[in-house]
């Protein structure tokens, strides 16, 4: 069966291994200097090189939302961007949300509403919810559900997740 590429095509894919390059990333207010190959995703840079393992790798294809982080205040999938593409950005991960004097209100609400079971999707859910609030488009519970659809929870904690976000956004339960 035909597989991927013919040998002659494959030979010139990478004439020589490109060098790692110096990359500066600003994460949770701290500037980090790294030497990374250009194909390192932002997710892998966070987890494998900076040991910020709060950001989770679920599908690694932008389908589950577990890797959601905030870039200049906007939520994105860190698995589908290269670290080198985010040199000029302010990146916030789940580790950067809490203030010195306590948890972020969404973190507190997730605890109070028991908005998880296994917890693997939770950092992505919370970062996504912060992004949702920054965007200011959600006015109703249906809006929250629609605009959080990029974050999957295989335990099915959705009702509690929506409750936690709704409460922080001051949206009434039956809106």
């Amino acid at each position: 069966m035909q597989t991927t590429l013919s040998p002659e095509t494959r030979a010139d894919l990478a004439p020589s291994l490109p060098q790692k390059q110096a990359i500066k990333l600003t994460i949770n207010g701290t500037v980090h200097h790294l030497e990374l190959a250009p194909w390192t995703t932002l997710l892998d840079a966070l987890r494998e090189y900076l040991h910020l393992t709060g950001t989770k790798k679920g599908c690694d294809h932008g389908q589950c939302g577990a890797c959601t982080v905030l870039v200049d205040g906007k939520r994105i999938n860190s698995c589908l961007t290269l670290a080198v593409m985010k040199e000029d950005s302010d990146i916030t991960t789940i580790e950067g949300l809490a203030a010195e004097n306590g948890l972020h209100p969404l973190q507190t609400a997730f605890v109070e509403h028991d908005a998880y079971q296994c917890g693997y999707c939770t950092p992505g859910q919370i970062c996504s919810a912060v992004g949702l609030m920054n965007e200011g488009q959600a006015k109703t519970i249906d809006d929250i559900r629609e605009l959080m659809s990029g974050n999957l929870c295989r335990c099915g904690a959705y009702p509690h997740i929506v409750d936690a976000i709704r409460e922080v956004m001051h949206i009434e339960p039956k809106s």
Binding site: M1, T3, T4, P15, T41, N77, V84, E135
Partner: protein
Amino acid sequence: MNSFSYARPSDIGTAVDELATHEGAKFIAGGTNLLDLMKENVEHPNRLVDINRLALSTIEDTEEGGLRLGALATNADTAYHSAVQSRYPLLSQAILAGASAQLRNMATNGGNLFQRTRCYYFYDTQTPCNKREPGSGCGALNGFNRIHAILGTSDQNPETACIATHPSDMCVALAALDAVVRVTGPMGERTIRFADFHRLPGHEPWLDTTIQPGELVTAIDLPAKGFPEYFTYIKLRDRQSYAFALVSVAVGLEIDNNRITDARIALGGVAHKPWRKPEVEARLVGQSISETDFAPIAEALLEGAKGYGHNTFKIELAKRAIVRALQRAAKLEPQV
């Protein structure tokens, strides 16, 4: 992902030169589709030219009364832009029907045009696919083809067969709006009518668009006419959010004194490109909205449709969706 080198030009000329001087290089903007395909070993550029520093993110009025959407404006910024929401709500609705909030924050308008098909066989490098590996065959034709095309397919020659669909929602609205794509490249600047931008598989299913090697999309121009009063985008899919369309319909109408004076209908999820038939749309002009039976219009739009087994349901689904979309756009039923 394969290894590659990386460049980050700061002006358009350098970016175009990068592609002209590096065979196998590709532009990267949002990266949401390209990096996914590289992880699957479907795409394997040897150099990525990051165009995110080019000044192509603005959304501004054109002299002709239309709106110019910068190629690097994100899908989210476009869908929520006040001029898009007030003058082209069909486009806003279509963009927000696609992907997730995270992806819309990354994906750009230019990149949206170059989304590749979500055909399972295109993604699976262990199976034949004429789009990914020209001449290898089509796994979908006699395979699991529930999501595949029913119009404009190529199915006669095994070496060029392709029943893939174009996955974009935004492009369905852009087709209905008669948008114009502005590109620049080694041969200079040119414009491409939206109807001519994407292509049917024909004898070259590996080509998705009519863009030439090395060309860069700089903007998408919307004409002045935006159908802000009578419009709708209906998207039918296997779950309510964050799924590709099985069938989608974009409708824009102009209605004067209960009579249709202009009509646009574009279909998504049914062909290799957004599907339009201007001659069928023209049949609506002059018709009374309250007395017109839309079913014959739907029949005419689906003329020649062909199912391949699992996807045969799409023919009837598309017809009913067209009737519903026309009724909704004409305000004969609520927008929802």
